[in-house]
Subunit: 299 residues, 2 copies
């Protein structure tokens, strides 16, 4: 059981150092996160982007670039993203971080059939949370990429989450399929999917995890609530992964935790051949550092 | 601005005392809530249900029933619900609380065309929250009744929330229409609805409130996040009401606040001719008391 996200940083320090390529590094928030991360000694960065701008920003935040590899590109973020992806493909970097480039342009490069890092898996966002109101870290997915995943997409989203869990040493995670109620209702697709996913898991068609649901959030995270409603099993009240029904539910839940729940998160995009770190401006410094630490743990 | 839910209790005490009918009062949790509420002097109860069971439970929790009006009914919760509804209709009670009867049976009685309390409004659930992470109480709707409301239903859900806000003295509430993103995307119905609701409000077709959105939750509740993303207006970072896209998103958000956010809520069902108090077993004592206090404030 992992109690807090700092454990990710401790684990990252125990591993051999990883090389992270930054697509369009001319971004103050990203360079600050990099500065913090390098202090922890868990990554060697490789910067792609506008050298002049990168140097300017680095100077303004007191980040000494001496000895850091930099590929100068003044043709914009989309091109930097393609160069970054190529660096991973050629083995010059272990994973990738988004800088001053749109998510769309970065993912376009990642998914490019020729130069990209595409696998047969769907891309999905996997976020780990540390909350003052839960006894261990837990994962929420997908809150950012797949708008209304169908059953097959949900299988892949769970698979990506399981892989991320394995990366941090959490084997056989307990997956709660979230909904508004605990009873399967044909008018509520989330409950039907939950039932199907649970059955696939029971039949061995969805491996590496224990799936249960449909669960409203109280059942997923609170053992007393589960007991009061007579819901047993290993997952209720002790889940490691919460699968959101769709992007609205996932995103509102994610942001409730971060903005109205005193929680901290670390997140990566899974499903390409390497993890992609997509921190946002509104993430705090610790969250960005922990997201990079998380990525170093996933092979 | 109302900073905490105790303000509802203070306001309730300033009003003339209200009469609350309890449908199927043979329920330990409900009788406990009643006991607390009577101590505060904000309601006179009228109990409908199985007299023997009610007396047994009352004795077990040390609740003295002397002087409390009770209509004995041993034909079950559904009949108690009909009697309770009739009591409101005849003017013998001001509003109604659910006891040991299914929500479906209670609402069937409330919505009955002949004896019921139906209006031309949709029924919807309105919950007020006090959170350690927000500067005032705020309302979230609809997290429990309408599965996938269309635009017209959302207009009515907002109207119900506005009426509840007016009840607690909050005029012209700021309504944030929640989604996963701030940009209107035809593939995301929540964002399209947000845009339409905002326009209806601007044209005076949706009155008594200020509507803005689509907003992800960070934009709705956090002024810094709104500023960082360049989103202005009165609602961003200071909303009073959060309209959820659908029941999954609403319910997950509601339960994130209650079970992973240290928040307390008070809730009523609006849209009938009187408020309906529907507390659940998993609500804590304070939440049940505050829900009753909330109902006393709504005419």
């Amino acid at each position: 059981m992992i109690r807090d996200l700092d454990e990710l940083l401790r684990k990252a320090k125990e591993r051999s150092i990883r090389k992270m390529v930054v697509a369009a590094a001319e971004d103050k928030h990203v360079l600050k996160a990099l500065q913090d991360t390098m202090r922890e000694g868990i990554i060697i960065p490789l910067l792609i982007g506008d050298k002049e701008k990168i140097e300017q920003i680095a100077q303004s935040i007191g980040f000494v670039l001496d000895g850091i590899e930099l590929v100068d590109n003044r043709e914009g973020g989309a091109v930097s993203a393609r160069i970054a992806v190529a660096k991973v493909k050629s083995g010059d970097a272990d994973f990738i971080m988004k800088g001053f480039v749109s998510t769309a342009d970065l993912l376009k490069a990642v998914l490019d059939k020729e130069i990209g890092l595409r696998t047969d898996q769907l891309l999905s966002h996997v976020a780990f949370f540390e909350s003052p109101y839960y006894h261990k870290i837990f994962c929420v997915t997908d809150v950012a990429m797949n708008i209304a995943p169908d059953l097959d997409a949900k299988v892949q989203i769970i698979h990506n989450a399981v892989r991320a869990c394995q990366g941090i040493g959490l084997e056989n995670p307990k997956v709660a399929v979230a909904a508004a109620v605990e009873i399967v209702n044909p008018k509520m697709e989330a409950t039907v999917h939950a039932d199907q996913l649970k059955e696939m898991n029971a039949k061995g068609l969805l491996k590496g995890c224990i799936v249960d649901g449909p669960f409203a959030i109280d059942i997923a995270v609170n053992a007393t609530a589960a007991r009061n409603k007579g819901i047993g099993g290993e997952v209720a009240g002790d889940c490691d992964v919460i699968l959101a029904p769709d992007i609205e539910a996932g995103n509102m839940f994610y942001k409730a935790l971060n903005f109205l729940g005193g929680a901290t998160s670390a997140a990566v995009v899974m499903g390409a051949s390497v993890p992609v770190v997509l921190t946002s401006r509104s993430d705090d410094e610790r969250s960005k550092l922990l997201s990079i630490a998380l990525a170093t743990l996933i092979d």
